[in-house]
């Protein structure tokens, strides 16, 4: 598929497969509660990495550590984009400037702005004009803003939100808001896109759309995606690798097949222990018949 993008949506300078983000043995405490314990993780360029785990496992806390909203007490987080940056203690806006964008579990859009303004505010880090020339809005400042207006039109096109571009975000449906929020993160031209439950609360049709957009962003633009998702069907289908958290600890990591056959993972999810695990998470049964609703893990006992 050929789209006339005016500039790339991806600001990464790494080759596919190179290590982009390294989380090294981080520990995060809230008072006496340990939210994350000794968690290590590696994110590689152009992959889709899913983080799964039961509620309260520390998935969002991990994302918050990466984007600088929480600072872990132990361990470090290193981000590479041609050069290594330790981002463990950085402020959120500094991390954003390095190219890590994210969306939130509970939509955190700027409710009173239009969709266009939300997307444009995503491109904030790239805007250079100074205060004085912005107040005059003449010449270079105007040209810069027109350039970004054209740029966000690409995102509108990619996410198929043409019809709502001048609507106020607060008036949109939940599914569309999730899509706009992803668009806002994309407008940052990120090298890593962190998505916190992008499909929560959606029906199967909306989930399919969302999965398609995520794959588009990943395959056409090579943007690395880290996503938290509860829908096992989607996770198994679209992710290259999966990391599993439980009670703040990482209990498994690997390809969907590896994770599916990992005894710790199965125990965490099903609370059962067996020597061998004849379980299978799949969208399709043995005969290849599609499981249309795609909601939750389908577990086959052989």
């Amino acid at each position: 598929m050929q789209r006339g993008f005016t500039s790339g949506l991806n600001s990464s300078r790494l080759e596919a497969g190179e290590t982009q983000l390294k989380v090294e043995k981080i520990q995060l405490n809230f008072g006496g509660v340990t939210a994350l314990f000794d968690v290590s993780l590696e994110v590689r360029q152009s992959e889709i990495l899913a983080i799964i785990g039961p509620n309260g496992a520390g998935k969002t806390s991990l994302l918050n550590c990466i984007s600088g909203l929480y600072h872990p007490q132990k361990g470090r987080i290193v981000y590479a984009n041609g050069r290594e940056h330790e981002i463990t203690r950085m402020k959120p806006h500094q991390i954003a400037r390095l190219g890590i964008a994210r969306s939130f579990q509970n939509i955190e859009l700027f409710r009173h702005m239009t969709v266009l303004d939300n997307l444009l505010s995503g491109a904030h880090v790239h805007m250079r004009s100074n205060l004085l020339s912005s107040l005059v809005y003449w010449g270079p400042a105007q040209r810069e803003h027109i350039r970004f207006r054209r740029f966000v039109e690409d995102i509108i096109d990619l996410l198929e939100i043409e019809a709502i571009r001048s609507n106020t975000v607060g008036s949109l449906s939940y599914g569309l808001q999730k899509r706009v929020e992803m668009g806002r993160a994309l407008a940052m031209q990120p090298s890593i896109l962190l998505l916190d439950e992008p499909m929560a609360g959606m029906n199967s049709e909306e989930k399919e759309d969302m999965a398609r957009f995520i794959l588009d962003i990943n395959e056409e633009h090579g943007v690395t995606i880290v996503l938290i998702e509860h829908d096992m069907g989607v996770v198994m289908d679209i992710s290259d690798r999966i990391a599993v958290l439980n009670f703040g600890q990482k209990i498994g990591e690997g390809t969907p097949d590896e994770v599916r056959s990992n005894p710790h993972v199965v125990q965490a999810y099903l609370g059962e222990e067996k020597k061998s695990f004849p379980f299978k998470f799949s969208l399709k049964d043995e005969n290849g018949n599609g499981n249309g609703n795609g909601s939750g893990a389908q577990v086959d006992h052989d």
Binding site: S67, G68, L69, K91, P92, H93, A96, R97, A101, R102, F104, E108, L109, F110, R111, H112, M113, D117, L120, S121, G122, A123, H124, V125, M127, S129, L131, S134, L135, V136, Y137, A141, Q142, H145, I146, R149, R150, E153, R184, M188
Partner: protein, 347 residues
Amino acid sequence: MISGIFHSTYEKDMALRRTHAQKIRLVLIVIFILVFPFLANRYYLTLANQVGIAVIGAIGLNILVGYTGQISLGQGGFMAVGAYTAGILTARMGMPWWASTIVACFATALVGTVFGIPSLRLKGLYLAIATLAAQEIILWAVKNWDALTGGVDALVVPNPELFGIRMNTDFNFYWLVWILVVIVTIASVNLFRTHFGRAFIAIRDQDIAASVMGVDLFKYKLLAFAVSSFLVGLAGALTAHYRSIVTWERFTVDVSVTYLAMIIIGGLGSITGSYLGATFMTLLPVVLTNLGRAVKTSFPVIDSIIPFVQQGMFGLVIILFLILEPEGLNKIWKNIKDYFRLWPFSY
């Protein structure tokens, strides 16, 4: 009747006035501003000048409170900084009035920024109390720092002159203040077309999301205080030069509350709303006074209670506005426009 607005270039799509109706309305407003001083008598010119100063102050406060969501009760104090800086520089150091006005704007921006530092930790009502402290500290300094401000005595400012023309006659000052109103309006409207303005609104709507989008909260909150105080300082400096006299009574916490009322009644986060609110709050007491006089001649009996009725009416009108249209005069104005856009087929 129009079915929609369609543009073929991004430049036109991003223009401020996108339809003929909007352009015609703008031209009419400009013509009104140009013709008004030749038709109005001195009394109405005085009112127009007061409204002009209030508009500048209200736009300033709206940038901070309405757009950035940082509630401020320090308006009166910041206006005092502007007025006293301009007054002292002109009266004691013989600086030309226009230069002292510019210095006053920057001085107020600086003071506003300093008092904006608590906003990095405090939000909502807590910040309101912190800015109330700013108001009281500034006013206390004005009243007690006799050597600088003259204390509780009035500070007399020489009449401003430009090429030998006295600028603070009602007619001349009208041009000065309304040219500044136009400049301030254009600048603030432009501000909210750019990433600076969007960052302010982002901080108001979702500050955590804003920081994750790359908005430096520290920098932009202080910038909002600076830009806002700059305009508030301008309003203060203009007051000083217009009245030729600066007293602390003009900058009490009442002023802060009145300005807050202006932007709430006019419409938070709206430049048009700042105009409407400033006009409304400046003219309402005047209208009520005139009404009172008219009533007094017909019913001399109630003469003694008229001042109380006026104050009561003032409060009542404000409360009614807030109940009937919480989004302010700007929303009413929008509804009127929407009605006529589809008129006469408004279904």
